[in-house]
C-alpha cells in the first residue's frame, strides 16, 4: 500500500501536502434557490469555518460553474488546501466535476468529499428552514470528519475489448449492430426468435410518412445477415453474463434449427409437412407447418423445424416428409442445442416490447366477439404479406367491414393495466384509419379517444389530414360492446364527453388500439445484467436527461422500447446513440475505474478464508503455502463485503475505510444523537432512491442522516453497534432488492449480518426495532420516504432509558478493531 501511495503522491506533484495536517476548504453551494431557498447557506458556511481543520469556508451561488471551480482551484494553490469539501447536490451528479477540478489544481481527486445538501436536505425539507439548516450543518460536519481521514488513491485502467454484444434483433438491435459493425467492431447479435426484424416486421405501414414498414426494414435485415463484422445468432438467448465493463463473459444458449445453413429457401420441405399450427407472426390469424419460415423476408433466410410440434419431437423419426422433399438434403434432425461462450467489451440491450393483451377487459369482448381485434392483428390483416393478402375482412363472415371503430388507450393510462401512455397508439390509429380510407373510401371510421397525442414531427399534419378525410373522432371511450349474435355486428355504447350525451353505434369491426409493455424477457435480462428498472418494468437510464442511453452499469447501453415505449424513428435514433456511446469506450480501448478496492494486511491475515467465501467475484485468493489472502485488483469491484467478514481487522477498503465511516458516525452523534436516524445507503440503489425522493420533492422527517457505501455489503455490524454505543436512536440499513444487487449477491451477506445483529440485540435486551433493513431501488423514492417516516415513528417511541441500555450493552461488548 505504502509504495503505491508514494508513487501517487509523486505523480501529482504538489499534493505531497496530502499527508500534512489537514487544511480543509469547505464550499457551500446555493444552487440558485434550490438549496438556499430552504436552508441558510451562509449560516452553514459560518458553521463549517468553526470546525477543526477547516481553514476556509465559502458559500457561492453555483459552485459547479466555471467560476465556482476556479475559486476552488485558486484556493488549493494559494491557500495550500490539502482537502476539499463541497456541500451541494448529490455526488452521483457532480463528484466527477469537482474531482477533476481538484486534480487540475494538483490535489489528488480522492481527497475530495461531497455533502449532499440538495437531494438529501433542501429538496426534502422544503418547509422547515431551521431543521434543514441544522441537518445541512450535520452533513457538512460528517463530510469534514471523513475528508480528514481520506487518503490519496491512484485509479487503475481497464482495457476494453473491441467487441460488442447486441441483445435483441428488432429495429433498434439491427441499427445498433450495423452502426458498430460499420465502425469496424466485431458484433454478436443475439435474437430469441428464428428471424430478426422484431415488431417492425409485422407492421404494414409506418407513421407519419406512410412508408411500407418491411420495405424499409428488409434491406437493413439482409445487411445484418451478410455483414462480415456481425455474427448473427438466432433462436438464441443469453444464459449468463459475468465480468465488468470492458470484459464481459457471456454464455449464449443456441437452440437448433434442424435445417442446415445451406438451405436455399425453396420451400419444398413445408408442402408435405402434416402439422398445422397457428402462425405467430400473423398473430394466429393464419396457419403454418412444423417446418416453416417465419415470414417471406426472414433473415437468416432458412427454414426451421419447430420441434415442439414436429412429430419427431420425442427423438423417434415418425415422419420424414420434409427430409424426403428437400433436394439439397438440408434437414438434419440430429442438430443439438449449443452453448457458446463470447467475450465482449460492451453490451447493448434492445429487448423491445410486447403488446398488451386486452382479454381481461371483459366489457370489450376481445376473444369473445370475433369482430373485436387488436391493432397488431389489424396490421397483419391489412398487410399484403398477411393472411388475407392485404384485403381487409372481418373475422366472423370474411366480409369487408363497412364501419370500423378504433378504441384508444386500451391497456394504457390505466391502473387496471399499465399506468403509462404507450406513446405510439394514437398515431398508429390515425395511420390505420387513413389506410382504410385510402383503400376503401366509403368505410365509416370512428375513433373513440380520451386525448389524441400527436406530438412528433409531422404528426399533427397527419391528424388533421385524417379529420379532413372524414375520420370521425369522438371523445369518450366506450363503456361496453355488445355483439349481435346473428350478424356479428357490434353495438358500441358510451358517452360523448364533449356533448355529455350517450351514443350507440353499430359497427362491423372494432379495433382495440392496444398499448405496449416491457417484453416478458426483459425481466430475465434485468437479472442477468443486474440492471435496474422503473416501476413500470422498463429499464432505467443512468440519467434521464443527460445519459439517456447509458445504464447505471458501466459498459451496458439501452436502445428501443426496452427503455420505454417509443416509435420506430426514436428507436433508431436511440440505437445509433447507444452504438455511438459503446463506440466511444471501444475506440479508446481503455477506461479508468474508481480506486475503490479492498486491501489485505498480510500481518493480520490468518488465512481463515471467510472473506474469499463471501466475495461475489472470486477476487480473493488464499495462498496455499503462506496461508495469506490476496486481492486480485482487476477482478475486485469494490463492494466491500469482505471487510465486515474479517474478524481480525485485516481487510481495509480503499476510500471507504472503517475509520472514515466511524468518523462520520461520530460526527453525527455529537449532538442530539437520541433523536437522529442513521441510514446506510448503497450507492447504486438506495442512495439513488434517496436522490430520487429529492428530485421528486417528496418530503420526509428531518432526523435522517445518510452515510453512503458502495454496497450494503460494506456495512459492518460493528458500525451499527458503534452507532448504538454513541446513543443514536435508530439505524436503517438499505440496499438493492435481493436479486438486483449491483455486486451480484453481496446484499445477501447484508441480510445475514443484520439478522445476526438482531439476535444479538435481543440477547442484550436492546429494542430490535431500532435496527431496520430495507431494500429500496433507485426508482423507489416514495418507498424511501416511507421507510424514513417509519424510522421516525420508532425514534419517537424510543425512550432515553432504552438508548442508555443500547449504549451500555454495546460498550460492554466492545471489541478491539
Amino acid at each position: 500500500m505504502g509504495k503505491q501511495q508514494e508513487a501517487a503522491a509523486k505523480k501529482t506533484g504538489p499534493s505531497r501536502r496530502d499527508s500534512d495536517s489537514p487544511r480543509i476548504g469547505v464550499y457551500v453551494c446555493h444552487c440558485g434557490l434550490n438549496i438556499d431557498g430552504s436552508l441558510d447557506c451562509e449560516e452553514v458556511a459560518r458553521y463549517a469555518s468553526s470546525l477543526g481543520g477547516v481553514v476556509l469556508a465559502k458559500d457561492s451561488l453555483y459552485t459547479c460553474s466555471d467560476s465556482g471551480q476556479e475559486v476552488i482551484k485558486n484556493d488549493i494553490r494559494e491557500q495550500g488546501l490539502n482537502r476539499v469539501v463541497v456541500a451541494s447536490c448529490t455526488p452521483r451528479l457532480h463528484e466527477p466535476t469537482f474531482r477533476a477540478a481538484c486534480a487540475e489544481a494538483g490535489l489528488n481527486p480522492y481527497l475530495f468529499e461531497m455533502a449532499n445538501i440538495r437531494e438529501h436536505c433542501s429538496w426534502v425539507h422544503l418547509h422547515d428552514r431551521a431543521a434543514a439548516t441544522e441537518k445541512a450543518k450535520d452533513l457538512v460536519k460528517m463530510a469534514v470528519e471523513r475528508v480528514k481521514l481520506l487518503e490519496p488513491q491512484v485509479e487503475t485502467e481497464v482495457p476494453i475489448l473491441r467487441k460488442a454484444l447486441v441483445v435483441g434483433g428488432g429495429v433498434a438491435g439491427i441499427q445498433s449492430a450495423l452502426d458498430l459493425a460499420d465502425s469496424g467492431y466485431q458484433v454478436y447479435l443475439v435474437e430469441k426468435y428464428a428471424s430478426i426484424g422484431g415488431r417492425m416486421a409485422q407492421i404494414d405501414k409506418t407513421f407519419p410518412t406512410m412508408d411500407c414498414s418491411i420495405c424499409i426494414l428488409a434491406p437493413k435485415m439482409s445487411e445484418v445477415g451478410r455483414h462480415p463484422n456481425i455474427e448473427l445468432m438466432t433462436l438464441s438467448e443469453v444464459e449468463s453474463v459475468e465480468g465488468y465493463i470492458g470484459s464481459f463473459q457471456v454464455r449464449v444458449r443456441k437452440r437448433p434449427r434442424y435445417v442446415k445453413s445451406e438451405c436455399t429457401y425453396c420451400g419444398d420441405c413445408t408442402k408435405d409437412c402434416p402439422q398445422h399450427l397457428p402462425n405467430e407472426f400473423d398473430c394466429g390469424l393464419s396457419t403454418r407447418k412444423a417446418v416453416y419460415s417465419p415470414f417471406a423476408q426472414a433473415v437468416p433466410a432458412t427454414y426451421l423445424i419447430d420441434m415442439n410440434s414436429c412429430l419427431n419431437k420425442h427423438g423417434i423419426i415418425a415422419c420424414h416428409n420434409c427430409y424426403l422433399a428437400c433436394r439439397h438434403k438440408c434437414i438434419d434432425f440430429s442438430q443439438k442445442e449449443e452453448l457458446l461462450d463470447l467475450e465482449v467489451g460492451t453490451i447493448i440491450v434492445c429487448t423491445g416490447s410486447d403488446v398488451y393483451d386486452p382479454t381481461p377487459l371483459t366489457e370489450l369482448g376481445y376473444r369473445r366477439f370475433q369482430n373485436v381485434i387488436t391493432s397488431l392483428e389489424f396490421e397483419r390483416l391489412i398487410n399484403a404479406g398477411g393472411p388475407t393478402k392485404g384485403h381487409l375482412i372481418r373475422p366472423s363472415d370474411k366480409q369487408r367491414p363497412r364501419s370500423v371503430a378504433f378504441l384508444q388507450c386500451i391497456g394504457s393510462r390505466s391502473k387496471r393495466s399499465n399506468p403509462f401512455c404507450s406513446n405510439i397508439c394514437c398515431m398508429n390509429t390515425i395511420k390505420d384509419a387513413l389506410l382504410i380510407r385510402e383503400h376503401w373510401p366509403d368505410t365509416e371510421i370512428y375513433v373513440f379517444y380520451m386525448d389524441i397525442r400527436a406530438f412528433g414531427k409531422g404528426f399533427e399534419d397527419l391528424h388533421q389530414r385524417a379529420r379532413r378525410e372524414g375520420v370521425i373522432f369522438i371523445r369518450g371511450i366506450p363503456g361496453e360492446i355488445i355483439e349481435d349474435r346473428l350478424t356479428g355486428n357490434l353495438k358500441v355504447i358510451g358517452e360523448n364527453t364533449l356533448l355529455s350525451k350517450l351514443y350507440q353505434y353499430e359497427m362491423d369491426l372494432v379495433i382495440l388500439s392496444v398499448g405496449i409493455e416491457p417484453s416478458k424477457d426483459s425481466a430475465v435480462v434485468k437479472r442477468l445484467l443486474s440492471l435496474p428498472s422503473m416501476s413500470d418494468g422498463f429499464f432505467m437510464e443512468a440519467h434521464p436527461k443527460l445519459r439517456p442511453v447509458d445504464t447505471p452499469v458501466g459498459g451496458i447501453f439501452l436502445a428501443g422500447c426496452a427503455e420505454g415505449p417509443k416509435d420506430i424513428k426514436d428507436s433508431v435514433t436511440q440505437a445509433s446513440a447507444a452504438a455511438s456511446r459503446a463506440n466511444i469506450l471501444m475506440s479508446k480501448g481503455k477506461v479508468t475505474v474508481e480506486a475503490i478496492t479492498s486491501r489485505i494486511n498480510p500481518e493480520r491475515c490468518t488465512g481463515c478464508g471467510l472473506c474469499a467465501k463471501v466475495c461475489p467475484y472470486g477476487a480473493i485468493q488464499i495462498d496455499k503455502e503462506t496461508r495469506i489472502a490476496t486481492v486480485v485488483e482487476a477482478a475486485c469491484a469494490g463492494c466491500g463485503t469482505c471487510s465486515p467478514e474479517c474478524n481480525f481487522g485485516a481487510i481495509s477498503m480503499r476510500h471507504y475505510s472503517d475509520r472514515q465511516i466511524l468518523a462520520q458516525i461520530d460526527a453525527l452523534a455529537e449532538k442530539d444523537a437520541g433523536r437522529k436516524v442513521l441510514a446506510f445507503c448503497c450507492n447504486w440503489c438506495s442512495y439513488a432512491g434517496a436522490d430520487f425522493a429529492g428530485v421528486s420533492r417528496i418530503q420526509y422527517p428531518t432526523e435522517l442522516r445518510i452515510v453512503r457505501t458502495m454496497c450494503s455489503g460494506r456495512v459492518d455490524p460493528r458500525f451499527i453497534e458503534h452507532a448504538f454505543r454513541k446513543g443514536i436512536a435508530a439505524v436503517l440499513v438499505s440496499g438493492c432488492h435481493i436479486g438486483d444487487c449491483h455486486y451480484i449477491n453481496a446484499n445477501q451477506q447484508t441480510e445475514k449480518r443484520v439478522q445476526k445483529l438482531w439476535k444479538k440485540m435481543t440477547r442484550l435486551g436492546v429494542d430490535t426495532e431500532r435496527l431496520r433493513l430495507a431494500w429500496i431501488s433507485a426508482a423507489e423514492g416514495l418507498k424511501f420516504s416511507q421507510e424514513v417516516a417509519a424510522m421516525k415513528a420508532i425514534t419517537d417511541r424510543v425512550t432515553e432509558e432504552e438508548i442508555r441500555r443500547g449504549v451500555e450493552a454495546f460498550s460492554r461488548k466492545e471489541k478491539p478493531s
Binding site: 393510462r413 390505466s414 380520451m450 355504447i493 358510451g494 364527453t497 350517450l502
Partner: protein, 151 residues
C-alpha cells in the same frame, strides 16, 4: 355528529374524464341528464356543493358497473353516495326520496303492505311477511340522523 370519510378525494385527480363510467351506466341510459363523469368533474373543479342540487344524482342504484370498468379504479359509487349524503345534510332531498324515507320511519318498509299484496303472496304460496320492529328501525334512523334530515 361524526362524519365518516366515504370517499378519498385524492382519487378525483386521477380521473382522465374518459367517460367509461357514464358510458356503461344502466341508469344513465334511461335517465336523461344523469352523468357520473360530470358529477366527478364538478366535485373536482367546483367542489362537492356544486353537485348536490342535481336531482338526477339520486338515480344511482349503486350497482357498481362504473367502478368495475373505471380504468383508474376510482370508487365512483362511494363518490356518489358521498354527494348524496352531503346533499341530504344541506336539505337537497328530492320529494320522492323524502316520501319513501318517511315510509320507512313509520312502517319500517319502503313499500306499504296492502291487502292486495298479501292476497297475491298467498296465491303464490309465499308465507305472510313477518312484522317489522318499527320502534327499533325508528331508533336506528334517529341515531343515524336521518329522521332529523327529512323532518
Amino acid at each position: 355528529m361524526k362524519k365518516a370519510v366515504l370517499f378519498n378525494e385524492e382519487l378525483l385527480y386521477e380521473c382522465y374524464q374518459c367517460g367509461r363510467c357514464t358510458g356503461s351506466c344502466p341508469a344513465a341510459i334511461v335517465v336523461e341528464g344523469f352523468n357520473p363523469r360530470n358529477l366527478l368533474l364538478k366535485c373536482l373543479r367546483l367542489g362537492v356543493d356544486s353537485a348536490i342540487s342535481d336531482e338526477s344524482l339520486w338515480c344511482c342504484t349503486t350497482c357498481g358497473v362504473c367502478e368495475d370498468r373505471c380504468p383508474q379504479m376510482i370508487d365512483v359509487v362511494d363518490l356518489l353516495v358521498m354527494i348524496m349524503n352531503e346533499a341530504a345534510r344541506k336539505g337537497h332531498i328530492p320529494e320522492k326520496v323524502r316520501l319513501s324515507t318517511e315510509m320507512v320511519i313509520k312502517t319500517g318498509r319502503v313499500v306499504l303492505m296492502s291487502k292486495r299484496i298479501e292476497q297475491i303472496r298467498e296465491k303464490l304460496g309465499l308465507k305472510p311477511l313477518p312484522p317489522v320492529p318499527v320502534a327499533e328501525v325508528e331508533g336506528i334512523l334517529e341515531e343515524t340522523g336521518l329522521t332529523g334530515l327529512i323532518g
